[in-house]
């Protein structure tokens, strides 16, 4: 059967693959995106296992009008509302495990229904620290990132990118991709025995971190330095474009695009981890933001498009 499909004009700023799996414009609500939190499966719904990373306190997501103290309402790219990820005003030095609440993380839980192949994550986004003091506070943003959490028949893997903006107050402005160094599960979990997390999983907060901004969980993108648009005041946000293209057949990266810059990632594989129980077919797009000092930082997502060949 032939189909004639008229696409929403909001999609004209995207480059989706043939099959659009999700077009989430947050003017229509949160579209299935939710705060990430740990498994409340223990006694009295408490967590089963101790971890050095307390995942119960990540800052909440919300529908935001991007309103500021002197500027008023910024709105979103296509209307009024975006999805805002917001950290709490707590942070630790870069080389320590992230403090409870120093990240905010949003996830959409899907499973795959198509043959393996190309998959793409696109979004229009903006970011700023809370404008709770004068000055320009770009350095209060440590990092943001977006990725797919995938589990196929044989492996689970995290595949995506992180923009490392600042480390302990010093600007870095470089892209990294999920690819873990060859360390043990114990090293991955900051030396905590029997942590739920395995090597390669949840690199957003696991994997030792080093003063130059590298970690055991990420690989620097070649020529990955990029000045993103950060305006002259913390209440001026400019919407930016990001795109990640992966191949789930080859289990490889293909491209990362940020603004008009395209990074060729072909031939690079993510870290493959033995499958976790009960999550076969998992295909979870996710976004997170992390602060670099004890202030709230905000990451606004106007819209997201997830597509497949």
């Amino acid at each position: 059967m032939e189909h004639l499909v008229a696409l929403d004009q909001g999609l004209s700023k995207y480059q989706p693959l043939k099959r659009i799996l999700a077009y989430d414009d947050f003017d229509r609500g949160l579209c299935g995106w939710i705060d990430l939190h740990p498994n409340y499966v223990g006694r009295d719904f408490n967590t089963l296992r101790y971890s050095l990373v307390d995942k119960t306190q990540w800052g909440p997501i919300m529908l935001s009008s991007a309103s500021f103290r002197l500027a008023g309402t910024h709105g979103s790219l296509d209307g009024t509302y975006s999805m805002k990820l917001s950290t709490r005003p707590v942070a630790r030095p870069y080389t320590e495990a992230p403090a409870p609440g120093s990240l905010s993380h949003s996830i959409k839980r899907m499973t795959t229904h198509l043959p393996k192949g190309l998959r793409q994550f696109e979004m229009w986004y903006a970011y700023t620290p809370e404008q709770d003091r004068q000055g320009i506070s770009e350095h209060a943003m440590r990092a943001f990132g977006f990725f797919f959490d995938v589990q196929d028949d044989d492996y689970r893997y995290f595949i995506g990118a992180r923009y490392l903006n600042a480390v302990d107050g010093e600007m870095v402005r470089k892209w990294q991709i999920f690819k873990a160094k060859d360390v043990s599960d114990l090293e991955w979990a900051y030396g905590v025995e029997n942590d739920w997390c395995k090597h390669g999983i949840d690199a957003m907060w696991y994997g030792r971190r080093y003063p130059d901004g590298s970690t055991d969980g990420f690989k620097w993108v070649d020529n990955g330095y990029q000045d993103l648009c950060y305006n002259e005041s913390d209440d001026k946000i400019n919407w930016g474009y990001a795109r990640l293209l992966i191949d789930t057949q080859k289990r490889e990266y293909v491209e990362l695009q940020s603004g008009s810059t395209v990074f060729d990632l072909r031939g690079i594989a993510p870290t493959l981890t033995p499958p976790y129980a009960r999550i076969k077919g998992l295909f979870n797009p996710s976004i997170w933001v992390e602060n670099d000092s004890d202030r709230r930082v905000f990451f606004y997502v106007d819209s997201v498009v997830i597509s497949a060949e």
Binding site: G29, Q57, G59, P60, I61, M62, L63
Partner: protein
């Protein structure tokens, strides 16, 4: 169909003295319920809490809605409307050295 979000704004935090919940944007919603879920309250302490609104998400003023004094664990709620963009709960555990383990949930609809 109207929009809705249930947010676990604060999740099982332990507090002593004053506390304020995370600033939430709620401009899209026309009605809100704040829940206080108190799991523990030590030393026969009393917890007092009220809703606050803000012009900018940074400076806060009382909205006028307050929880009745809370003296034991349980689920409690208040209703608010006409709140602009920002909402939070501010409270205090009124006994030196006493602690409360609680969650703050916000239900928004509009």
């Amino acid at each position: 169909m109207r929009n809705f979000q249930a947010s676990a704004v604060e999740r099982r935090i332990t507090i002593q003295g004053e506390f304020a919940s995370h600033p939430m944007e709620a401009g899209w919603a026309s009605e809100a319920l704040f829940f206080l879920i108190v799991e523990e309250l030590t030393d026969a302490a009393v917890l007092r809490a009220q809703v606050e609104i803000s012009a900018d998400g940074i400076n806060w003023i009382p909205e006028g809605t307050a929880f009745e004094a809370i003296g034991r664990p349980g689920h409690y709620f208040v209703k608010v409307s006409h709140f602009g963009n920002w909402l939070r709960v501010k409270g205090v555990v009124e006994r030196a050295g006493a602690a409360a383990k609680l969650s703050v949930h916000l239900h928004l609809k509009g």
